[in-house]
Symmetry: C2
Subunit: 296 residues, 2 copies
Amino acid sequence: MQFFSKKNTITHFSADMKSVYTIEPGETVVVETHDCYGGQIADESVLRPDIDLSIMNQATGPFYVNGVKAGDILVVEILDIELDPSGVMVMSKGLGVLGDLVDEPSTKIVPVKDGRILFGDGLIFPVAPMIGVIGVAPRKGSVHCAVPGDHGGNMDTKDIRAGSRIYFPVFQEGGLFALGDLHASMGDGEMNGTGVEIGGKVKMKVDKREGCLLSVPVVETKDAFMFISSAETLEAAVQRGAGIVVEHLQNALALEFGEAYRLLTMLCDVKISQVVNKLVTIRVEVPKSLLFKLFG
Amino acid sequence: MQFFSKKNTITHFSADMKSVYTIEPGETVVVETHDCYGGQIADESVLRPDIDLSIMNQATGPFYVNGVKAGDILVVEILDIELDPSGVMVMSKGLGVLGDLVDEPSTKIVPVKDGRILFGDGLIFPVAPMIGVIGVAPRKGSVHCAVPGDHGGNMDTKDIRAGSRIYFPVFQEGGLFALGDLHASMGDGEMNGTGVEIGGKVKMKVDKREGCLLSVPVVETKDAFMFISSAETLEAAVQRGAGIVVEHLQNALALEFGEAYRLLTMLCDVKISQVVNKLVTIRVEVPKSLLFKLFG
């Protein structure tokens, strides 16, 4: 099994970026990733104002997947996420939804051991490992790794975890995917601006699918397909996600608009992924009891 | 067990409303409710533009709970929700997040039988009964039953279902609670503006708690406490809910602000309840692994 180290990373997902690694469709690989600060925080004396933000959320890659063309779908199945032995949580004035209430910047190192997060003061919680940044080269231009979009990127969606499969629309030859920004745990919303930020190794199977259409990334879990939508406000992201799902239901199940809209409101949950990045992200969850297969 | 019919309802939760029913703390009762249209939709020929909206979301009550005072907490445990044999879904231009795409108004009657929703065209789904409107008299003024707030009201939160317990801050003597607007099923967001709207009977145990402080309704499920926050935008509702939860965690667990803020981002999900009422509603879910009891 090929192992790819974190020495090659990108700070932007760009339409014209050059791949550094090549893999075959169907291949299972292990990819090492930095924490979102690129390892800049060695101890609790390093505060957020000291950090070089230009390299935030860097992602290991890009990977060229042989035979993948624009218009295909890249399918990434997350098999396992192995976390480093400690994570970090920073806080700083203005960070997160209550950022105005933060006085002094502070950094907390959080040990992670035997699948548990040792928060301190007797507070111990199970890890819930997830991938914050994962994406492909966008249709055009260049998107910083801290920003989400239809190419993926910093979606901060906690269902992107072991056992999930992610479908990306492919915009450039080879797909050119990259990933990073693991969290040992994060709640929906990422309300203070960070999860338990951590590096690690991700075992994943990468494959392709041809002849199907998708406009945004979709996460498949055991029970649902989640359509990911990012926009400037939650309201706009919800509206966009709802429109994409209704159109998908119409096509997949041969439904009139009205019937698909009713099934959306009756059975589909819109969930917040994150409210703290430059664009915010929601996911519309379509249960498999309604949509058995993503494509007909 | 006392049974209370739907013949007495309110269209507004008002600070000065008069109770029509009286019960004792600790009593289990059955309350009959209209659907959100007050039974105005007899068949599919009745469209939303034909409906008297002033009586939308009417709630059965108000109930005076003996011995309950302002400053107490009213605890309502939902034991069972029995649904009427059919629900209704209306659609109309402008309704819901994709309302601009709706051309003609339409009404769909949806039979509900043996715990299943018979949507039509072979589509059958299990019911997921919930209460859309439930609340107490507000601190001041008068709030239409179609609007949510700190008194409860039209929260459209699908975790308000059998097996859940809801804690309300009490603003007026006797609490003066009322409820209505059941749904046979609704996804988080209530994205087209309605669930499967239906009448029914709710079996519930009503009790009180003294000497504890709460500023918003809280829903307790098997695994979590959910703090409900409504505001003009999702962003504002999230910020307000996060602030309330952090303060609660600080008090309940004797934590500094920073530690509570970190635990919020790491473990608590912010979830969308509804995006279609005059104020939108979110809930911040605090897992019991973090907060074992709501009050110390």
